[in-house]
Symmetry: C2
Subunit: 429 residues, 2 copies
Amino acid sequence: MTQLKAAVDGRVTTEMKRAAAAENVPAETVRAGIAEGVTVLPFNEKLDERVRAVAVGKGLRTKVNANIGSSRDHADVRLELCKARVAEEAGADALMDLSTGGDLHAIRRAILRETSLPVGTVPVYEVAARAEDEGREFEDASVDEMFDVVEEHARDGVSFMTLHAGVTRYAVERLKSQGRELDIVSRGGALMAGWMARREAENPFYEFFDRLVELALEYDFTFSLGDGLRPGCLADANDRAQITELLALAELAKRARERGAQVMLEGPGHVPLNAVAEHVRLQKAVGGGAPFYTLGPLVTDVAPGYDHITAAIGGAVAAAAGVDFLCYVTPAEHLSLPGPEDVRLGVIASRIAAHAGDVAKGVVGAADWDLEMSRARRSLDWKRQAELAVDPAEAARRRSENAPKVEAETCTMCSNMCAIKLSEKALAE
Amino acid sequence: MTQLKAAVDGRVTTEMKRAAAAENVPAETVRAGIAEGVTVLPFNEKLDERVRAVAVGKGLRTKVNANIGSSRDHADVRLELCKARVAEEAGADALMDLSTGGDLHAIRRAILRETSLPVGTVPVYEVAARAEDEGREFEDASVDEMFDVVEEHARDGVSFMTLHAGVTRYAVERLKSQGRELDIVSRGGALMAGWMARREAENPFYEFFDRLVELALEYDFTFSLGDGLRPGCLADANDRAQITELLALAELAKRARERGAQVMLEGPGHVPLNAVAEHVRLQKAVGGGAPFYTLGPLVTDVAPGYDHITAAIGGAVAAAAGVDFLCYVTPAEHLSLPGPEDVRLGVIASRIAAHAGDVAKGVVGAADWDLEMSRARRSLDWKRQAELAVDPAEAARRRSENAPKVEAETCTMCSNMCAIKLSEKALAE
């Protein structure tokens, strides 16, 4: 019995109740959304109450995911556990362990033990890393190896998995025939395309999608159908390959849902600002309203070192247009593996984007937070302003390191020319 | 002879040529835009070629202004000169000296000597600071004192001035009758409202607007008609007071333009993301297409310490919808006077927003920058990527501090699982 089957049967599960309580909505809202396929509750039947139940979807707060994970250059389980803690403390709603270096199994289990957030993975990274450890190529990996790794992740308690099932032979042909500036920038997408090309075979996650569905039903993990052909630069956005893959994913999503497995769809990537909202509407329309999980989108390619900001711009607009789940981007994007401070800044920037989107799309209660802050500003209550801030410690630090001397209740920006005080005086005249 | 009069007469001035050359557009584009009132070229007849000619308006690159200036808590001319240098190095197109503490005249002249950027000011701050230095209240300042300070700024070489001429008695009544969470959050707006209330008089910049126009014609500075009643929180956005003021400013803009003085209109402030583009279109429509200069807009109130990010979200959407000039917001906003590193981060965040907007609104050549970066990424040319970055030093620093050991041409994110390389291999199979 999966969350989706229960929802369709009209039953409210413990996890639905917990997820609803966490954001102060009726449990029935969560159940109805899951039943309709417009909400997912990434969980795993191996998990207990220690792990937060987080619902992602229509009418709910936009959630934020933080990608952590090792690489061959930095394969240190302690560093990844530190990043997991930092992400959770900064307010992330979920983690993805994208490790590609070191003992992937050990890192994944350590993260699952450490965090109370639902954890997602990209199993194909482990298939590739194992092949390399054994001196083989990824192209040598068998279909069974791929499914075995998916099942292993499910058994470990992974709540959602990115599976690049839409990188079909047909879609890759579309990419080649159109041509691109940056071809395939998804590691999973590029791995699958290479495997398919070498073997002259179809993508096994597409060809044997029902095997994936069986696993999803057994462990009740959620599909995050990955956009392996997402654009890697503005110039490639919204091309035929991207949309071809989206249409394939939308079909698979329907098949999975009909059998009782939860699905969200992943999205780009790099998209010009004027095309973000349109793309969200297209993805929602063809995906039957499936929860939409975006990476970025980054609205310019020229800001390495500041891609948390370019992603916040795109993410806010995307969330306002209906995106349900934002994958953060850190300042290290395009440059290096993120460290703990990058993780923190990435989560905060994404949370700002998510909240700006929530106010814009009218999530119930979202604007109350802004109103409370405004009232703390009006009363020059600096302690309360810091408490209400998206990052209370940073707001408090800045205030304490810049305490005003001229007039204690104002700040060093205006000193005795404080607009709040001038305004009160003017309107009282 | 002002820039506007010359433009209307069909004459292309030296400054128009310089401004056009700086962004690789025909000088005729700049001239025609100025003549039509949809472009301004903030300059001052006291200035020479040492100061950059910067055109702001339709079809041109969205420009970025950095606010610097002292307060009574931090009145140090060296700090302000440092901030002026940092802003220029980070790529600001203009500076505003908003000093309110120390010897304002000396600070302004020092900044004007130091920078090659056009400088804007808010003269009424100096009127208030002088009154206080002399133990008087701002309400004691005479109308002549106000105009004298405006002329002094013009004589010093200020290129654009914020004048809160739309804070009329009628508009303040609208604010009072509707009620607000945060009343007047503009210092200039609150000062004018206080002066008017005490004296039971009309706003002198409104009542005697023609005197301002005379000064603008004599020195050829540009009006930046200030929104003294801008909303200070999301809850106050787009209320009747704000729109009443906008309509008054639009009328004044037309009067100034008809006499040959250049005008831009200022805008909010704090605006929910879903209302940003609508507001830009309203302001452009009622303002007869006057260049629109926005502060932010900030799309949430809850992120003190990160308001450069909330402003980048709002600014990008505003620029995409037609805003011509973004006033940066720094991470210190709502907390303290910004320091040099805040200034740098504010300029970079605003430049990202401006560029994302330029790509979206189709400014000629804007997307070429992104394309060049994409090609440097494809060829794994890390040196070129840093050169092309919005902040080359930061991109280069991150790369050099995170050099990969596993595979020199990749980065530590992917090590030997680089999507660019995997994709090349896959598509070559």
